[in-house]
């Protein structure tokens, strides 16, 4: 079964006919050619497919594209400004926060969304006082980033990269 949808992806408006079974991830990669969203587990467990969906971080492998008609999507590729990396991406480079790099676009999008959640005052599982202002320390970052796996194990540098931007 086909459906007509539009998506704004990294600033560009796209009109597509998609199979109802197509996930956002597959539409991004296979139909639109935006490959910065990565397919890792394809079951919502690894976070490699994380993008900003209508401004919030979300896995795209468990979202049918048809259900997100008219959505605004920003992938890691779309975070960059004019010839400049996004501060989070730059911090990943500065802190050597990756090895193979496959999980990195998802990590970066997740970190950008996560920092906005902190800015909005959202508590996390490790926040001791649910009503106090958030202090973004390493424990908070590790908990909030637990939906993004890195099989190279670059976690230590990922945490320090995010720490720098979050300061």
């Amino acid at each position: 079964m086909d459906a007509q949808i539009t998506l704004r992806v990294d600033g560009e408006l796209r009109a597509l006919t998609v199979d109802t079974r197509a996930t956002l991830l597959d539409v991004l990669r296979e139909r639109i050619g935006v490959t910065s969203a990565k397919k890792g587990c394809d079951h919502g467990q690894c976070g490699a497919c994380t993008v900003l969906l209508d401004g919030r971080r979300a896995t795209t492998c468990l979202a049918f594209a048809v259900a997100h008609d008219a959505a605004e999507i920003v992938t890691a590729a779309g975070l960059a400004g004019d010839g400049e990396l996004h501060p989070v991406a730059q911090a990943f480079v500065d802190h050597d926060a990756f090895q193979c790099g496959y999980c990195t676009p998802g990590q970066v999008c997740s970190a950008v969304g996560m920092l906005e959640e902190v800015e909005a005052g959202w508590p996390s599982h490790v926040t001791a006082d649910l009503t106090a202002p958030i202090e973004l320390d390493e424990t908070e970052i590790r908990e909030r980033m637990s939906g993004n796996l890195c099989r190279c194990g670059a976690y230590v540098n990922i945490v320090s990269a995010i720490c720098e931007v979050g300061r």
């Binding site: 394809d42 468990l62 997740s110 969304g113 005052g121 996390s124 939906g147």
Partner: protein, 329 residues
């Protein structure tokens, strides 16, 4: 994946009519469980009725002092909601202990409740499973059972309900508002999910086509000092081995009232009424807490790999109750 049609519901009545009129239809919320199961071949709906954009996406005060949570409110928004953080912290804590940040941004209140009660065998279509295919047998019964039920299971199914949120709602005596083809009804959340018995294919008491539109929290002053603790194999982003949602009303060293629910132990969130009976009127001491836990867990029937859950549940409950008492001082 099997082909399916997709409809975006205009309103609740439209959604209910669409699903109720077609045996193969299913509601779609955030999709984090259903889409996964469709990929695995565990769920094969021929029509998805999308209810995620219906206007049940607010948290509102109820006239009697309680709070109404819309069925389409995202788990992340609910956890961050000021009224929940202040008056029902156990619910915020439970939500934040579940899934990951990017999944909580998608998952809805109603969808979280209606995620399948499940185990690894249920999700593996190459193995027998009475829940997935009634009458085919239970692979877990003589298989790997670290994560399975110790309370209320049957010979047919030993899976557990994985929601953290539902455990907190059970302790809070939440009321589930449902709209169906024959009108609306309210179901206490403790009665929403079923024990497996002879029909493990049915997770809940809902009829096909019934839609959860809201969950109501009662006015419950003691919930302001409530707590959720989850024990799991990793520090984050893992299902519970055991979890406890609890609140205590203590005066002059005596427990006046208590609410306790366990997660990770049964086919449904487990309201610990036996433990509550021991707690009410007893001194708020560790000895009482141990007796309360023992009373509830006396009926536990562990499987090959999960006998550890019984002392783990006991110790977790005692620790949570002790913490609730200490924090009052």
């Amino acid at each position: 994946m099997r082909p399916f049609e997709y409809e975006r519901a205009a309103d609740a009545a439209d959604a209910v009519a669409s699903v109720a009129g077609r045996p193969g239809a299913a509601f779609l919320g955030g999709g984090t469980n259903l889409v996964d199961h469709m990929k695995l071949g565990v769920a094969t709906p021929d029509l998805l009725v999308d209810v995620s954009r219906l206007p049940f996406d607010t948290v509102e005060s109820l006239p009697g002092g309680g709070v109404r949570i819309g069925g389409a409110v995202r788990n992340s928004d609910l956890a961050a909601e000021p009224v929940i953080r202040e008056r029902y912290p156990v619910l915020s804590q439970a939500l934040l202990a579940g899934a990951s940040g990017q999944l909580r941004n998608l998952a809805t209140t109603a969808g979280n409740l209606l995620q399948r009660t499940r185990c690894v065998y249920f999700q593996d279509v190459t193995t027998p499973c009475n829940k997935r295919e009634p009458g085919s047998g239970c692979s877990a019964l003589h298989g790997y059972t670290r994560y399975h039920a110790v309370l209320g299971a049957s010979e047919r199914c030993v899976a557990v309900h994985p929601s953290d949120m539902a455990v907190a709602l059970t302790a809070l005596d939440a009321l589930v508002q449902v709209q169906g083809p024959d009108g609306g009804r309210s179901i206490p959340v403790a009665e929403l999910h079923r024990l497996p018995g002879d029909a493990p294919e049915r997770d809940t008491v809902l009829e096909h086509g019934e839609l959860i539109t809201a969950v109501d929290l009662p006015e419950l002053p003691m919930a302001a000092r409530s707590h959720y603790r989850k024990v799991r194999d990793r520090a984050s982003y893992a299902f519970a081995l055991v979890s406890v949602a609890a609140m205590l009303d203590v005066e002059d060293g005596t427990v006046l009232d208590a609410r306790v629910a366990f997660g990770g132990l049964a086919h449904k969130p487990w309201r610990a009424t036996r433990a509550e009976d021991v707690l009410r009127g007893a001194p708020a001491t560790e000895e009482t807490f141990r007796r309360a836990a023992d009373a509830e867990l006396a009926g536990a029937r562990p499987l090959r790999d999960n006998a550890f859950k019984v002392p783990m549940a006991r110790n977790t409950l005692v620790a949570v109750l002790r913490e609730l008492v200490q924090r009052r001082r």
